[in-house]
Subunit: 445 residues, 2 copies
Amino acid sequence: MKKISILGAGLSATSLIEYLLERAEQNDWQINVGDCDIDIAKHKVGNNKRATAFTFNVKNIDDVNKAVAEADVIVSMLPAMFHHIIAKSCIENKTQMLTASYVSKEIKEMGSAAQDANVGIFMELGVDPGIDHMSAMKIIDKLRADGSTLNGFYSSTGGLVAPEYDNNPWNYKFTWNPRNVVLAGQGVSMFIRNGRYKYIPYQRLFHRLSETSIEGFGDFEIYPNRDSLKYRKTYGLEEIPTIFRGTMRRKGFSRAWNVFVQLGATDDSYTIENSDKMTFRQFINTFLAYEEYTPLEEKIRNHFSILITDDVYNKLKWLDIFEDIKIPLKEATPAQILQYILERKLQLEEGDKDMIVMQHRFEFTTKEGEDKEITSTMVVKGETNERTAMAITVGTPLAIAVKMVANKELKLTGVHVPVIPEMYNPILEELEESDIKFTETERTL
Amino acid sequence: MKKISILGAGLSATSLIEYLLERAEQNDWQINVGDCDIDIAKHKVGNNKRATAFTFNVKNIDDVNKAVAEADVIVSMLPAMFHHIIAKSCIENKTQMLTASYVSKEIKEMGSAAQDANVGIFMELGVDPGIDHMSAMKIIDKLRADGSTLNGFYSSTGGLVAPEYDNNPWNYKFTWNPRNVVLAGQGVSMFIRNGRYKYIPYQRLFHRLSETSIEGFGDFEIYPNRDSLKYRKTYGLEEIPTIFRGTMRRKGFSRAWNVFVQLGATDDSYTIENSDKMTFRQFINTFLAYEEYTPLEEKIRNHFSILITDDVYNKLKWLDIFEDIKIPLKEATPAQILQYILERKLQLEEGDKDMIVMQHRFEFTTKEGEDKEITSTMVVKGETNERTAMAITVGTPLAIAVKMVANKELKLTGVHVPVIPEMYNPILEELEESDIKFTETERTL
C-alpha cells in the first residue's frame, strides 16, 4: 500500500483530494490530509475509509519530518515559500514530492541532491504554471519533429468569471487571491519581439495591450505577464525571435485598471497616515492635486481624459470610489485599501462560477517554406463553489502526476517540470477525459 | 590645542577643510585629514603647519577607533551609511561629532547614549539638509514670537548650472552625483495641502509641477521632493495644514525628463540582457512596442504627443538617444545606461560654475488677522571648479558648527539638527559674511 500525504487542505486542494480519494481503493493508496486547521482536513477526507486527517504545522520541523517520513509521496499545497522546507525533508527521507508552484531558487539548487537520493521533485503541475507548459511543449515538440521552424510563441491565460455570471461593468470578479490581482504586474515585464528585447515598466503595462477572441466566448484583451524571457530556456527556445506571455482580461478592464495604477493606488510600499479616518473618496483624492472648486469626479475625468459617458468612468463610479464610505483599515497601504474597496464589489457571489481561459499562438515556417500559425485554446468553467475552474485546473493535472508517481509510472529523479513527453503526454491525455482540453486551429499566414 | 579630524577628503570636503585650515592658527587647532587615498588627503592639507594627512579606511575598525580616540572633534564626510560606525566610536571615546548628512535611524537611537557620555552629535549641517532647516526655523520662530499663525510652508531647493554657463537645451548640468539625479523621486512623494494628505507615485511626479521665479534669475519649476510630512515634526509644525518640499529645475526640464520615467529608462531594479551589444537607439526602442514601419523618432512623438517642433523633442534628440552609439556597459540596468547617455552631454565643462537656489514660502495670519506671505530666497554661485556652490554651501555651515563645537560655543549633548536658535543664529550670521544669505520679501495675500 502506497501512502500519499497532502500538506495543506485549502480551496486549491479540493479537486486534488477528490481525485485521489476516488481512486484510492483501486490503486491501494492510503491518503493522509494534513492542515493546521484539523477541521478543514477532516471535512476534505469525509468518511472515506482510505483516508485520515491530521494536524500539520509547517513551522514545526517535527511535524514536517514526521509527515514526510511516514509517506511515500508528499503533495505540498502550502504557500510557495514553504516548499523548500518540505523538499529538504523529502530528500532526507527519500520521499517523492509534487507541487503546483514555480521551482524556486532554493529548490533548483537541490536538484542533484534529489538525484543522488533517488527522489523525484515534480513541480509547476497546476494550470499556470502547469497546463501551459504541457500544452505548449506538445505542439513545440511536434513542430520540431515535422522539421518546422518556430518564429513566434505567444501564450496567455486569464482567470475570469464565467459569461453567465458576468454581470458587472468590469466584466471581472476575483476568482483567486485578490491581493495578487491588486499587485499584478509590479516591477518590469519583459519579452522579445522579432529579436528585439522589450521591457515594459509597470506604469506602461496596462497601455501595452493586444487583443484576441475565442469562438463562443467573445473578445479579450491581453497585457504582458512579467518575465517571458525565462521561458526560452524552459522550453528550449533559446533562439526564438518572438516570445510573449500575457494575462487575459475582458476588453476595457485594463483601461480602467490603469487609472488606479497611474494614481498610485496599487502601491504596497508605504502606509497612509490615519487611513482609518478616511473615506473612499478621500483616499482617491490623496493622489490628485488640491483644487478648491473642482470635485473629485471632475478631477479624475480631466486628468485621465475621460468623458462622463465613457465606460471607464462607469466602471470607476460603480466601485463607489466617489462615495464617503469609511475605510476600516488602520495605517494601511494604498494596495490594501484598494483591495478592500474592490472586494466589496468584485467577489464571486453564491452560485457564481469562474472560468479559466488559456490560448497559445505559434507562428512557424514549415519544412516546405510555408508560413503558418497554430492557435490552441482551452476554456474551463467552474462546476460548483468548491470545484471552481481554478481548483479543477490546478488540482487535476497535479493529481494525475501524483498517481503516476505513486504507481511508479513516473520514475524520474531530481527536479522536473512537465516539459517532457513522458510527463505531458499521459497528463494531457487524461485531462481530456475530464474535459480539460485544447482546441487547435491552423491557418496559413 | 584642540584636535579636529576630518574623515573623507572628497570634493564635498573642500570648503570645509579650507575654512578650518585658514582659522587653525588663531584658534589653536590641529587639523588631521584622513582618506583611504592618502594623496587626496595630502593635496587638501597642502603645506599648512597645523595640518597632517593620514590614511583612513572606515572598514578597518582599528582605523576608526584610533582616529576617533586621538581627536577632540570628528567631522565625518564619509558616505552616509558609515556615520553610525563613527558615532558609536565617538560615544565610546567621548569625542564630539559633526556631519552634513541626515540623521539615520541608527544614529537617532544613539541619542541618549550620547547624552550619557556627554557627547554632542550634530548632523544635517550642510545645505539641504542644513541651511534649509536653519533659514526656515529662523522665520518660523519669529512668526511664532509675533503671535502669527503659520498656514502653509513651502520649501524648494535646486542644484543647477549658473546662468552664464547654461548653454544646453535642458538648462541643466550635473553638479552633484549623477546617479542620484537619475534615481531622484523613485518611491512615493508625500505632502499635506489644506489638511489633505497628498501621495504622488513616481509615475506622476514629473506631472505635478508648480512654478516660481527669482528676481534676476528667471523662472523655475518645482516637483515634489519625497516625504514632506516628516518635516512637521522636525520643525514643530504638527498641526500645519500645508507643508510641501520640492526640487527646483529650469522650466521644461520635467516634461522632458518624464519621457524617460514613463519609458522605464530610470529603472534600477533589473539588468538588460546583452546591453553591451546595444546602441542608444536600441536601448530606447526596448521600451516601445514593435512597429515594423515606424521609426523610433515617430514612435516617441506619437506616444508622448510631442510635435517635431516642440522643445521636449529637441531636448531628447540633443542627448543623441536616436543615434546608433554603442553602450559600453555589460548587463547594465536601464538607470545605469541612461546615466551613461546623460553624462556624455550634461557634465560641467572646465570653467563652468554651478548654482544652488533655495526658496521658502510662508503663508501666515498675523495676530491682527491679516493674511500675509513671506518669501525667502537664497542663490549661491560656484567660485571655482573645486569651490562649487554645492561644496561651499555644504561645507561652510558645517565648518562654522565645527568651530563652535571645538571652541565650546556649542556644548549640547545628544543628537541635534540645527533647528534651535543657539545653532541657527550664529551659523546664519556667519554665513551672511560669506555671502550665503537669504533675501526676504513680504506681501499681503
